[in-house]
């Protein structure tokens, strides 16, 4: 019987010839990521296991993303303690303020995730790594500490669900729209808990790495264990010059077994929006057009990449953001920031009246940089919209694609980018 790509990776990385759903395996981990607000605890736990050196200093990746730049003294002190502990363990790859980015962006962009391997991180959106043909999995600090000590993590082999994506991407329709569409179909933490989700078909072959990252990123919010796109020529071209190690092509067998399969035709997919409070309360944009809002936000590990900033610039060039809207744009990493600067996107956005902030998780985690206050209505290209997610419980968050945010920010009300005059 054939195996899915996730089963193959779990078999290869646990030294077995095959695995089946339900089996429990200890796999070798390619990279272990931890970040500023949990990292110190991770290292303390690691030390308590009786080890002094991590399994591989090149493969424990440390990132400052949630707390930077520190908005208050408490966070500044936490960051100082974090820096001490990273230094103490002589970690090779430390992406601290100045070289920072959102951890999941850094992991893929800097080549710490390799196709055919398993990487874990202490933040829920580690599922993003599936875009590079890897198993990316979110864990708590205990699992990360164990992996730092041993290079291993335990997994139960998940059963698989396939999403076969056909047709062509329509203008101004993005991977985020597909993510939100699937969320509406399968429900937030609903039918897909514990599953591995595999995306394939012509609609995936034609999708950029940035789009694949968006798609895999939000599989955690479907409740899935991981989401994965098998490596192809797009992956290969992207990883050229980035990959921190050798890797080989890997794909599901023809006769691999899927618990369920769904086909989605992109010719029927338009801009999609999640209404406030519940991620799966998604509607085609037509049903939300005209809704007024006062804050616009584009950034996060879901939609803060160069391609996202490009579409903002394309739509907003020569236009002015509506006077009743404040817009904040936060590139996902310093690399994205610099690339967007050089390409002129940031200049376009600033001319349109957007505020650009330094790469971090920003208001998505509700911690700092443009958090929502009472009565705010936020149109966000982020990943979660539950009450209080971006700050006040008395704020409403609509989730959508960067293209919808761009067109809507100009009009001051939710606007279909396909009918917007650019």
């Amino acid at each position: 019987m054939g195996m899915t790509i996730t089963e193959k990776i779990m078999a290869n990385q646990s030294g077995r010839s095959s695995v089946k759903p339900g089996e429990l395996v200890w796999v070798d981990v390619q990279s272990v990521m931890t970040m500023d607000y949990l990292g110190k605890t991770c290292f303390e736990k690691f030390k308590s296991l009786g080890k002094t050196e991590v399994f591989d200093k090149d493969r424990v990746i440390c990132v400052s993303d949630h707390l930077v730049p520190p908005p208050n003294q408490k966070f500044a002190t936490m960051l100082n303690e974090w820096r001490e502990v990273v230094k103490e363990h002589d970690i090779t790859h430390f992406y601290d303020l100045g070289r920072q980015g959102i951890a999941h962006q850094i992991m893929v962009e800097q080549g710490h995730v390799l196709p055919g391997t398993v990487s874990i991180g202490t933040d829920s959106h580690a599922n993003t790594y599936g875009a590079a043909g890897a198993i990316g999995n979110a864990v708590g600090v205990t699992d990360a500490a164990v992996a730092m000590a041993t290079g291993k993590a335990w997994f139960r082999v998940p059963s698989a669900v396939k999403f076969h994506i056909t047709g062509e991407w329509q203008p101004f329709v993005m991977a985020k729209d597909l993510s939100l569409h699937i969320m509406g179909m399968m429900h937030w933490n609903g039918h897909l808990i514990y599953k591995t989700l595999e995306f394939d078909g012509p609609g995936i072959t034609s999708l950029s790495m940035a789009g694949r990252m968006t798609l895999c990123n939000m599989t955690v919010d479907l409740g899935a264990k991981n989401g994965i796109v098998a490596p192809d020529e797009t992956t290969k071209a992207y990883l050229e010059g980035r990959a921190k190690g050798d890797w080989e092509m890997i794909a599901s067998d023809e006769d691999a077994v899927y618990e369920q399969s769904y086909e989605i035709n992109l010719s029927n997919l338009g801009p999609t929006i999640a209404l406030p409070d519940k991620l799966d309360d998604t509607v085609p944009i037509e049903k939300a057009i005209g809704k007024k809002f006062n804050k616009a936000f584009v950034g996060t590990c879901t939609n803060g990449r160069l391609e996202d900033l490009e579409i903002l610039a394309r739509i907003m060039k020569g236009k002015q953001i509506h006077r009743d809207v404040n817009m904040i744009v936060v590139p996902a990493s310093q690399t994205v920031y610099l690339d967007a600067l050089r390409a002129g996107y940031l200049e376009t956005l600033i001319m349109a009246g957007a505020a650009i902030d330094t790469p971090s998780c920003a208001a998505c985690a509700g911690i700092h940089t443009g958090v929502a206050g009472d009565g705010d209505i936020v149109l966000s290209a982020g990943n979660r919209n539950m009450k209080g997610r971006m700050g006040s419980k008395n704020a409403q968050i609509y989730l959508t694609s960067p293209a919808v945010v761009a067109a809507s920010a100009i009009r001051g009300e939710i606007t279909d980018p396909r009918t917007f005059d650019i």
């Binding site: 607000y37 736990k45 296991l49 829920s124 708590g140 699992d143 808990i193 509700g366 979660r384 209080g388």
Partner: protein, 174 residues
């Protein structure tokens, strides 16, 4: 055999309501995390030690207990600090399911339990057979037994102890 009072939750009790945002960046500590555990789940629990002082031993929940995608272990530490010995639900969110296994707090899947228990009912759970008895109503429920690995980690008092012991003995981790 574990015996005690249960608190019955709804579907979709979210991890970020079990531990609310202002405590995400605090230390992971059973005693400390338990003081405000469940603060965001119900208005009645939104004061210091409010949930803990009610003295529940079990939680009975529906679909996707502890979901919403937070990986923080404060959730499990807080429940344990509040005296919770086992959580029964029809399904669990995977991140906290994993954390619970790693901490040795049984998260036990039981198909219909949410329909036939009320807050304050006295339950008795037999981890060996998986049988859950509602002593108040006289009803019984089956549950899924823990996988052998999960049971081993539970017996060791959590993954840290399990791995620490293996490292000390120089044994392979399998």
């Amino acid at each position: 055999m574990i015996k005690g009072k249960c608190w019955v939750a709804d579907d979709y009790v979210m991890a970020y309501n079990i531990i609310i945002q202002e405590y995400w960046t605090t230390a992971i500590d059973k005693e400390d995390n338990s003081r405000w555990v469940m603060a965001g789940v119900h208005e009645d629990f939104n004061s210091e030690n409010a949930f803990k002082d009610r003295g529940y031993t079990f939680i009975v929940a529906g679909h996707n207990f502890a979901g919403g995608g937070k990986s923080i272990e404060h959730v499990i530490a807080g429940l344990m600090g509040a005296g919770i010995k086992t959580v029964f639900a029809t399904s669990f969110a995977r991140l906290q399911f994993r954390n619970a296994i790693n901490y040795g707090l049984p998260f036990v899947t039981s198909k219909d339990i949410d329909k036939d228990c009320s807050t304050g009912d006295e339950l008795e759970y037999n981890p060996q057979t998986g049988e859950i008895k509602n002593l108040t109503t006289g009803k019984s429920f089956d549950s899924l037994p823990a996988a052998p690995f999960v049971a081993k980690v539970g017996q060791a008092g959590g993954l840290m102890n399990y791995v620490r012991d293996k490292i000390a003995k120089g044994e392979a981790i399998t």
